[in-house]
């Protein structure tokens, strides 16, 4: 009788610890563009591995083709051992499944990372690539010189892609107490984004997850907690729609035609945010 009682208590504990089953909103439409967003992850510590395991788990039900990295890909040392510990090993199951990773540089990265083949930068500190109807722009926000600004403006203007998605390290909007919004960068980039019909921007740097209310028609996300975390760093800001600073996260995104669906998943598997963005809303 006592054994049954213990079993019952154990079941209750397991049930209460498990994340509530949340219905995915990702439609898995044929031909859609599916990817994951991670930032500030390259610590080589257990939480990075936990998030990587969650990503691999998600890949089974949501087969995404690639991952975009919003910087701080390798913290601290940059020896071959560091590349293994902070990138190759945690993401091995995904790399083995043929998932590609596209990196942008953060302030903890070094320009030599441009030559690391699995980062797909092809020796460039900023670059663009196409996936279906989406053109992605990996920018170097550490050093936004006139050449990069000119290249970005020209490419955005020339592109006929339905969606144009820039991603880079320093956030133009952030409620993070540690860093906050990069206002100077915002004054340079936002007018170009508005002019060329950018709707979504991903950044990191602040070790939190945050989604802003649309600013000049643009949805800004901070996803800087796929390895690092600054618990309790979020501060009230008028531009914030929602945020999460209690644990590590990553984002799963699907773009189907004129719609973008996203889910933000925590280390425990909890869906901390989700939504749908229509291109012309």
């Amino acid at each position: 009788m006592r054994r049954i009682w213990y079993l019952w208590v154990l079941c209750l504990c397991v049930w209460s610890a498990a994340p509530a089953a949340q219905k995915t909103i990702l439609p898995l439409e044929p031909g859609s563009v599916r990817f994951v967003v991670i930032g500030d992850m390259g610590t080589g510590a257990a939480p990075q591995y936990d998030i990587a395991a969650r990503m691999a788990e998600l890949h089974k039900s949501f087969p995404f083709d690639f991952v975009i990295m919003v910087g701080d890909n390798i913290y601290g040392g940059k020896s071959p051992h560091d590349f293994a510990k902070k990138f190759d090993d945690p993401y091995k199951p995904l790399l083995d499944d043929g998932v590609k990773f596209y990196a942008s540089l953060g302030n903890h990265d070094v320009p030599a990372e441009e030559f690391y083949k699995p980062f797909n930068m092809n020796g460039h500190r900023y670059y663009a690539f196409d996936k279906g109807n989406v053109r992605f722009y990996a920018l170097d926000s550490n050093y936004m010189d006139p050449d990069q600004l000119k290249w970005l403006g020209n490419d955005l203007r020339d592109s006929n892609a339905t969606w144009k998605i820039p991603f880079f390290h320093h956030p133009l909007y952030s409620s993070g107490a540690t860093h906050g919004s990069s206002v100077e960068l915002r004054h340079l980039l936002e007018p170009v984004f508005v002019e060329t019909g950018v709707r979504v921007v991903f950044s990191g740097h602040d070790h939190i997850y945050e989604r802003m209310k649309p600013q000049q028609g643009i949805y800004y996300f901070v996803e800087g907690s796929a390895g690092q975390l600054r618990a309790g760093d979020l501060r009230p800001a008028p531009f914030e729609a929602t945020g999460f600073d209690k644990d590590r996260t990553f984002m799963a995104v699907e773009i189907a035609g004129d719609d973008m669906f996203f889910e933000t998943i925590s280390r425990s598997g909890e869906m901390v945010d989700s939504g749908q963005i229509h291109l012309k809303d």
Partner: protein, 211 residues
Amino acid sequence: MRKTKDNRAVRALSRQACALLAAVSLNIPAAWSLATQPAARAGSQSNHMQTARDQGFQEFSQNVDRYQQLRKQVEKRLPSLKSTDNPEAIEAHEHALAAKIVEARKSAKVGDIFTEKGSAAFRKVIQAAFSGPKGGELYKTIFQGEPLDLSLRVNQMYPASLPATTVPPTLLLVLPKLPQGIEYRVIGRDFALEDVKARLLIDFIRGVFPL
């Protein structure tokens, strides 16, 4: 009687008005001259400053070109770096390039690229930007980039384990353009020039940033 008094008063008034007009008309050129002399002086001073700045930047750009030529010569002696799965090869190339540049610039010292004139020009432009209306934003950019103090020396490799402070993008708009692979760096209060392919500090100016 009254009429005569009035006439006298009018005549007195007109005499005073004429005297005033004469005084004013005489004083206008004098006042103009007084007002324009400092402006002209300031104008010529400003032109002089601009010329000095241009000369400083020109000298700097020539030195950077010379460095670039040297780097090209050194690079020719190394196998070119292509994208690779092997981080060891990347690290080895970076170190080999740095070692060869250091060897070729054994006697390099502070001020070889940022000469006295060049340094003065950079200091003026940077200080003007930081004390201007957007100065606050520039400070914020630097502080968001996790600034750190590092004792600098020429031919030193920037430690890969340390973060890089963001260079304020509006500052980059007003500084001389650099060839690919050479970048400005903010390191604490110092302003440095880095060969990013070799992660090598090739020159710097001390105490530029009023942090």
